[in-house]
Symmetry: C2
Subunit: 301 residues, 2 copies
């Protein structure tokens, strides 16, 4: 397995470079008016994200033999949505975090009002990009429409934003495993599933392939969050770039809190296996997705 991870690293590095360069191309330049807003947007988008969602989208597209250039705009859009959600999550009225990935959070640098508006602008920018005819090439407009619908639904009040609300309500209140799963399938899982589903759609997946990839996306999305909860407890601060145990201090419900650390690890591994078995119908083309599923639960931060 350490061998698999070793092989995955150059692949991830190349994909991060590809996504970063496309994001740089698609986002308004920092010199555009209002410059402070565009600086704030770029500050958070280029703050060292791992680009897991776009990379999963590209890998799902590859798994079904699609061309990755056709998913690159949607891959960037989903990263913009993810980045906006982090800016808003960190706000004083929400998680009130000063640091993320070792850097000051957006509102600590630009102030709260600009951070709120940078998040709003970034969310909107995702839909500007997705509805821009010029970026889609020969992709049918109906596929662009469906992509917009998948991203919007997965990130809205019945998806990511809904999960965030329930997560906040659950602070300091004892919750059970089904509620915790609701939070995470919505807060984190929905956008990861959307990434994989859009990769399948734009890659030209068959109905069976798309269904299999969605099963993969569901399991991988939840595994990602379980691993995140475990990392919050065991990582050094330097690895995570935020205060260790901050979820615990805040009284947040986590998998280790409900299942114990060993139980949470076992749960993550079961989810990894579920993700892998969903890929049984694919041959070598799904190898990146397989390795990413393992990487997700063993990642250093």
């Amino acid at each position: 397995m350490s061998n698999e991870i070793w092989q995955l690293q150059p692949y991830l590095k190349e994909r991060v470079r590809l996504v970063d360069s496309a994001l740089d191309r698609y986002l308004p330049g920092a010199e555009m008016l209002p410059t402070r807003l565009h600086e704030a947007i770029r500050y958070s988008v280029f703050a060292g994200g791992k680009r897991i969602r776009p990379i999963l989208m590209l890998a799902a597209c590859e798994a079904v033999g699609g061309e990755i250039k056709k998913v690159l705009p949607a891959a960037c859009a989903i990263e913009m949505v993810h980045s906006y959600s982090l800016i808003h999550d960190d706000l004083p009225a929400m998680d009130d975090d000063d640091f993320r990935r070792g850097n000051l959070t957006n509102h600590k640098v630009y102030g709260e009002a600009t951070a709120i508006l940078a998040g709003d602008g970034l969310l909107t920018e995702a839909f500007i990009l997705l509805s821009n005819k010029d970026v889609w090439g020969d992709v049918p407009v109906e596929n662009a429409r469906e992509t917009i619908n998948i991203i919007a639904k997965s990130s809205g009040s019945r998806g990511m934003v809904g999960g965030q609300v329930v997560d906040m309500e659950a602070e300091k209140t004892p919750i059970d495993l089904p509620t915790l799963e609701y939070i995470h399938t919505h807060k984190t899982g929905a956008l990861i599933l959307a990434a994989v589903e859009i990769g399948a759609l734009l890659g030209g997946a068959s109905v069976e392939q798309r269904r299999a990839l969605c099963r993969y996306g569901e399991a991988a999305g939840l595994a990602f969050q379980v691993a995140d909860d475990i990392l919050d407890i065991v990582a050094d601060q330097s690895q995570l770039g935020k205060d260790v145990g901050s979820d615990q201090q805040r009284g947040k419900a986590t998998y280790p809190a409900l299942l114990g650390l060993a139980g949470a690890r076992q749960h993550a591994d079961e989810l990894r296996k579920r993700a892998l078995s969903a890929l049984d119908i694919f041959s070598a083309s799904a190898q990146p997705l397989r390795e990413i599923a393992t990487y997700i639960i063993n990642r250093p931060s």
Copy 2:
């Protein structure tokens, strides 16, 4: 003119009813999970808005002989975008307003975190609706894509959100008329122009008609804001539902501050005339748009 306004009232009332009932149908029900979030969203959407943007969209569609049922989803989407922007504008980190239209602002009722997320959810809901195949009937998907693009661009960092940032930066700093016009063509004007342009697009306007309606939309959008600044000074609190002179107290640049009250009134009337002259190529079909231009600068609140 008072006769014109009198005729307009039943028209506006009927249109508000039409838009409200469509919004009720398109928005997630208050009983949907997470219920507190959907309640918060509905609280602000149904807080007595005048529905100026959707009404302008419907009227622009009518002006070119289009069917208003084809624009109703987009009309609701633009109102969702407008409502989200009010929720975020009122936040403590932004304008810090306790009342809007005589009601407590969203964060005063639901708390700051939920208000931020209700705004985020509402903005996203607009794009869920616009990308929902089922609401478009026989409108070509290419028109849906263009509608999404117009709404996203007009409300993003180079539109409404950008205007809001410059507005905040301008507080307590003396600014000139060009900066004030920049703020308002972006903060308020962009979405009003978008409403009219989408009405033209989905109504099947010719290139010449669309251009004329955009000229109307630009002038009407700016007139709306000039009138808003005047109202902030002269209206009773009961009419406006917020503290009178609150812009002044906050040190906000306004048209009356820069041009004097009489100068601002004259400017509003010039903009009204510019809006009307853009409609010269239309006959009776544009009568609602004409009356709305007059209503905008003479409205009681």
